[in-house]
Symmetry: C2
Subunit: 411 residues, 2 copies
């Protein structure tokens, strides 16, 4: 094994995250009180209880006629029972009242016979089935009862949650304030998008990627721009970042070669500074996790793919905690690998894969990579597989859990 | 089998969609030219080709020293080779130049030896491994070559696509204009959220739900409010909708009981009007698909869960086509049902399920439902299973494909 200059010891992913969370103890951010029509994708800050039963009254579950169930007993296709139609607000013995799906059950009625099981007669209807009391009726509180929890604290509000809130007549909700994340790119080789690079310079892609990922998870970003490889400049920007934001992400300047510029800058800003530096993962080995003035500072690789996995593994869980979410699993599935892949023992490898479906089976094709700088490997992938530290690869046709970035493509 | 009053014949889901698409022939909407930093979740309108190689120059894939590979031949831990360090822009025989990950390879050098395989000596370094030409070098164009397609037309732009565009120095992109969808709720029993319902009235939840679902898929909504069960009023609103929007969705007033008010209104507005009415699906049977002035009008059930599945099955594919997306699969997976479920032959049933993972196996628990009005069944579910028309249920422990609404919960 080669010596790992600068990283005397690599920390395992789980240990690094546990250590960092233990030190940081991230707590849920404050509250925004907003209309539910603006709450899509926001996170409920508190349990929301039903202010009343839903439905508030007995409703018909079908188009048909409300009547007294016992009046239909014995009815059949061969021996229909006749009912008198009423327009009153209540139903008496021998009477039926037309009702549409969702309509309020009139007083006296205890069942609904479906339109399909009736036919019109002069002044009334004939019914060809017997119904039991309660049949085709949505009971009061059947959907949710008064004081039951409609939406739990920590719920990401999706269309169906908003629908339930609307059904209960709830117009506003307390959601968790959006976390603010400050993004800083470091490196003398970087130019901002839109500028003209000189030979040897590259565009700053990490800010673009990380801003979009933050948006996806429900955080806002503050762009701190590019800092040259200069200790004081980096310190100034990070100081600015922790002042303005709930978390800071830096990219670049964390590998051994860059003389640990960013970790040094962070350590210069006071205790506790860097908590972990050098993770037994690939990509993302030079990731460092730090705390400055109580705020998390994530020091990620300058290589975009490594930065993305650094975000996935360390930043995401912290932002979720700031949002008051215990755990939010990516969509995942089981798929068979289309070929063997090797991985080094003792490292957790995040393998980019392309999942596809053939007939009703799912397969995961490992993307051939040449390093964590190659962005096109990420556009070819739609998910990743975790190869644990105690494996030195995965076998051809082995079933593995794939964490999906998003949708699944067909072959 | 009961007679299906009003629906003489139910059309199968696939036939209904095919018929409708054939008649509608939806085409991609126009183009917005926007900065890539605002393009997250938008859809690329055209293929985007790489304007140059990426990387534009040979870069080091490691921290280490650039040198001439043949100079290292024979080097080993027991017999290190010595190199002279140079600060020049080029490397000559016997020389090495320090380089960081991502740095440009100096002229003359054809390999990089990793920092870990070297140690400093007086005025130079000693190297303990042999490297081959090209080793630890990212070739020009390795990520993507000039003129290759970086992002295909119809791609939903996710963080990784934006990263690749940024890496190529692309600042702006042509995306498909956001489809505008007009939402109309019908029904005398409805009140708007925020108003005080009288006994027998219910809140309009469909607008809230559908607006959020539209946002999710990348469409904007126009709220046409609530129309009473009045033919002329409904006609006016739909006319307004097809004027302002690319598609109209109505909810309510489509079941047999409401006397086909909305379908009648649509047919009154001119040919071709209603294309299909009555689908062999559950929930969502009374769905109708129509065309007014060349625009799609989706006439969905007033029951929220049925409206959501109506959207999923018919609206979504049309909106995707307006966005220029051929197909966009929800995240899906295979899971075992935790109990048997029955379904009627000849109907396609959309079964709400809650997927959970136990050890490394996925299970889908069918949600017990009492009708398509019960919103809490949707908040308990995180996906759905399709029971095909030729099955009368699914068996306990049967493996089924689950389409995920979003994340997966643990038990």
């Amino acid at each position: 094994m080669p010596r790992l200059k600068g990283f005397k010891k690599l920390t395992r992913v789980d240990d690094a995250l546990a250590l960092f969370l233990e030190e940081l103890r991230p707590t849920r951010l404050g509250i925004d009180h907003i209309p539910i029509n603006e709450a899509w994708q926001r996170v409920a800050a508190e349990n929301v209880s039903a202010p009343s039963d839903l439905p508030l009254f007995e409703r018909s579950a079908m188009d048909g006629y409300a009547l007294i169930a016992s009046d239909t007993f014995g009815a059949s296709e061969f021996k229909p029972t006749l009912f008198e139609l009423t327009e009153k607000d209540s139903v008496d013995k021998g009477e039926a009242k037309q009702i549409w799906t969702g309509g309020m059950i009139p007083k006296g009625a205890d069942a609904v016979v479906m339109l399909e099981h009736t036919s019109k007669t002069e002044g009334g209807i004939s019914v060809i089935v017997a119904v039991t009391p309660g049949e085709n009726i949505s009971k009061r509180g059947e959907d949710i009862k008064k004081s039951e929890i409609a939406v739990k604290a920590g719920t990401r509000l999706l269309p169906r949650h908003l629908g339930l809130l609307a059904g209960l007549g709830i117009t506003h909700i307390n959601v968790v304030r959006k976390p603010k994340v400050a993004l800083l790119s470091t490196g003398n080789e970087l130019v901002e998008l839109g500028q003209k690079p000189r030979l040897g310079q590259v565009f700053n892609v990490n800010d673009t990627i990380l801003a979009a990922i933050c948006k996806q998870i429900g955080a806002e970003t503050i762009n701190l721009g590019i800092a040259r490889d200069d200790l004081e400049k980096i310190k100034d920007r990070i100081t600015e970042g922790v002042k303005q934001a709930d978390a800071v992400i830096t990219t670049g300047g964390t590998s051994v070669g860059h003389a640990d510029l960013v970790p040094t800058a962070v350590n210069n800003l006071g205790k506790p500074g860097v908590i972990v530096h050098g993770i037994a993962m690939r990509p993302g080995m030079p990731t460092a996790l730090a705390i400055v003035r109580g705020k998390p500072v994530f020091i990620l690789s300058g290589y975009p793919v490594a930065a993305m996995f650094g975000f996935e593994v360390f930043v995401r869980p912290v932002i979720l905690r700031l949002l008051g979410i215990d755990d939010e699993h990516r969509p995942m599935l089981k798929a068979r690998l289309t070929r063997r892949v090797a991985s080094p023992l003792g490292r957790r490898v995040y393998l980019r894969v392309r999942v596809f479906k053939e007939r009703d089976e799912f397969f995961a094709e490992p993307i051939r990579t040449k390093g964590s700088g190659v962005l096109s490997t990420m556009t070819k992938a739609n998910g990743y597989v975790v190869i644990p530290e105690n494996r030195n690869g995965l076998e051809d046709n082995e079933a593995a859990i794939v964490y999906l970035f998003d949708k699944i493509g067909d072959k």
